[in-house]
């Protein structure tokens, strides 16, 4: 009965390093989303998975960003060669099919030094 779980909650990395952020959605939710929230900004859509369909990657800001979802459950967002402008809170959400109610995790605060 747990909600969306994200790990780590905080990640500090050096510029140029790769990072992996993990999202464990609510059991049974077929849709999974990644959003990015920069300081004082609204949420920026990154990528969306729905069941076995090809993901909607239209929000990924560059080819350094990629995401996968294994077995229709856990998702990993990977950022290669991190830059300082990648510093933000990365939020994951899940929903039952395509519904309006998204359930968000608490996010991963990424700091790139």
């Amino acid at each position: 009965g747990a909600g969306v779980s994200q790990s780590p909650s905080n990640k500090v990395t050096e510029k140029g390093k790769d990072v992996e952020l993990r999202c464990d959605p609510i059991s049974g939710h077929t849709a999974l989303y990644w959003y990015r929230q920069s300081l004082g900004q609204g949420l920026e859509f990154l990528i969306y998975f729905q069941g076995n369909s090809a993901p909607d990657k239209s929000g990924l800001p560059s080819d350094r960003f990629s995401a996968e979802r294994t077995g229709g459950s856990v998702s990993t967002l990977t950022i290669q060669r991190t830059q300082q402008e990648d510093s933000a809170v990365y939020l994951c959400a899940s929903s039952l099919e395509i519904q309006e109610k998204l359930f968000f995790g608490s996010g991963t605060q990424l700091s790139v030094l």
Binding site: V4, A31, Y33, Y35, G40, Q41, G42, L43, E44, F45, Y48, Q50, D56, S58, G59, L91, A93, S95, I98, Q99, E100, K101, L102, F104, G105, S106, G107
Partner: protein, 112 residues
């Protein structure tokens, strides 16, 4: 210009006041309108959801949508210190799947 504009605040009110939070938008294709509440270091949680124009009430919260003016509002009656949070409006069009466009959020502080 952003698709969805929202005053960042902070908005500070005394306990018991009526709070009015607003967003304007430019995309006339938006049909679904939502308000999320986000506490510090937490993810957003859905408060209100409306389709097209009109009002929706849920307890102390009322959401209004005026599509002709491209303007949406969230009213909070009898505000409580526990309402202190950032309020984000979000919206989407019919053909956007579940891809939401968010405002930047308004930080609300309700003082006892």
């Amino acid at each position: 210009q952003k698709e969805v504009e929202q005053d960042p605040g902070p908005l500070s009110v005394p306990e018991g006041a009526i709070v009015s939070l607003n967003c304007t938008y430019s995309n006339s294709a938006f049909q679904y309108f939502m308000w999320y509440r986000q506490y510090s270091r937490k993810g957003p949680e859905l408060l209100m959801y409306t389709y097209s124009s009109g009002n929706k009430e849920d307890g102390r919260f009322t959401a209004q949508v005026d599509k002709s003016s491209k303007y949406i509002s969230l009213f909070i009656r009898d505000s409580q210190p526990s309402d202190s949070a950032t309020y984000l409006c979000a919206m989407k069009s019919n053909n956007a799947g579940n891809m939401l466009t968010f405002g930047g959020g308004t930080r609300l502080m309700v003082k006892p």
